[in-house]
Symmetry: C2
Subunit: 233 residues, 2 copies
Amino acid sequence: MTLLPRSPRLTGASTTDRGLPNATVARLPLYLRALTQLRATGSATCSSDQLAEATGVSSANVRKDLSHLGSHGTRGVGYDVAHLQAEIAQAIGQTQEWNVVLVGAGHLGKALAAYPGFASRGSRIVAVVDADPKRLGEQVVDGLVIESADDLDEIVRDRAVSIAILATPTHAAQDVADRLVAAGVTSILNFAPVALRVPDGVDVRQVDVAAELQILAYHEQRKSSPREEAVSG
Amino acid sequence: MTLLPRSPRLTGASTTDRGLPNATVARLPLYLRALTQLRATGSATCSSDQLAEATGVSSANVRKDLSHLGSHGTRGVGYDVAHLQAEIAQAIGQTQEWNVVLVGAGHLGKALAAYPGFASRGSRIVAVVDADPKRLGEQVVDGLVIESADDLDEIVRDRAVSIAILATPTHAAQDVADRLVAAGVTSILNFAPVALRVPDGVDVRQVDVAAELQILAYHEQRKSSPREEAVSG
DNA sequence: TCGATTTTGTGAACGCCTTCACCAGCTCGT
DNA sequence: ACGAGCTGGTGAAGGCGTTCACAAAATCGA
Ligand SMILES: NC(=O)c1ccc[n+]([C@@H]2O[C@H](COP(=O)([O-])OP(=O)(O)OC[C@H]3O[C@@H](n4cnc5c(N)ncnc54)[C@H](O)[C@@H]3O)[C@@H](O)[C@H]2O)c1
Ligand SMILES: NC(=O)c1ccc[n+]([C@@H]2O[C@H](COP(=O)([O-])OP(=O)(O)OC[C@H]3O[C@@H](n4cnc5c(N)ncnc54)[C@H](O)[C@@H]3O)[C@@H](O)[C@H]2O)c1
């Protein structure tokens, strides 16, 4: 499989085969977001410093990232906001909309289905499926009604879905992933805290909220005990 | 500030000052999860290969990570599951429970409040606050009632909160972060798609779900066009 | 026209992290 | 008691990614 390194996690393989460096790809959405905001404020151009400010990335890093797309800035001036926005959009495939199927309409799934932030950033949830027969037909949001998990195959095929969001309970996640892959899905955003096994060519990105808190907790612990040296005996 | 590199994002500073390498810290929660499962199955010991299998990390990487905690394995046998679990728990501060305040009880906030995965992994949401006066007093889950955002100061102080989950609309995020920091919070898990500005010593981890999908979309695009070489002219 | 100023693009250096390769130490069968 | 077979620990090497530093290029005012 091709578990994309969302953290310093797994698969060192960067700079995938003639493509952009992975680290750069992960930041392009941030630049795009910043550019959209800048454009709304009426700015025609922006400097790497401004982008750095808006994204939290260092300005040197911004320039390096953008240079991978080709040289689109003007020395002494900066980048043309609209042009750069279009450039990045094309690079990360935001010129088309990506159809997404959401599996699992529980607490988290319903929140995700209601999230307008996907549509404004290139993804569209075209189906919500759940295994619970009692929930079939329930409307989760305008235009989206819960469908049967048995119809996954058909949904994926007929609606040109290539990306899935997995929000089922942990114990069902691997089975759902297998079925998604069988149906033709080649990218999965997984919220269930398990390492999915998927074949080569299928990308998985993992969001583990509890783990994020644990990482913060580690640093909190270190803040509390500034000097551990004289401990124990 | 100290934006922790959740991705290859920001601040190269790894191996923080005598501590564990950042990349290792990010994986310890995975090992802990795997060990808990292994223990439930009755396994007394496990090999680095088993942990690799369960977490998706390479076995060499597992051994390197665990070696940073000291040598706790036995050659020819593996690691003692219970012992290693305790060891990791101590390393990442899971011997105590961390009190967390959740800010913003909207779609996402309610899902997070209902999530049992925090409690089982060392964090406890001790308060849910929202700015909407109409929602005050509403019970989001057993034992948690929505409180006023005006009481943040008091809540953070009285309940020994050091970690916050930020789930407000984007436009309110920076203001909320400022108030959290002023109240004494030193770690923030931010779901709003903005780069927060916080002072030094405050850690921020960012979860940007839409960006995750955009990253997947980038790779999808590349899958569709295997050879871009003969394009355009 | 020229010089001061701004800001990009980029080679080089540096550091972190992963992987490799292999030795050391443990168990178990004989 | 010993050799075969596992399995962890760990130095070395290599790969990515970030930061540094500066030349190149554009604008602007005088
Ligand atoms: N709730 C959160 O805030 C949160 C946070 C982080 C991670 N997660 C993870 O996200 C996942 C979902 O969490 P949740 O709180 O929404 O759980 P939930 O129990 O509220 O919802 C799960 C939904 O999945 C459906 N489901 C079960 N098996 C299915 C199958 N085989 N196919 C399709 N649908 C199926 C159930 O009917 C249910 O509606 C879990 O793995 C959880 O660990 C949740
Ligand atoms: N819904 C999702 O699945 C999802 C996914 C990814 C990211 N996000 C992000 O998470 C955040 C919350 O999303 P949501 O869908 O829950 O939004 P929402 O509008 O449903 O909920 C936001 C809540 O925050 C409260 N709020 C507003 N200002 C506040 C303040 N100053 N202090 C305290 N509370 C305040 C509101 O009253 C509301 O209850 C947003 O930034 C969104 O971009 C949401």
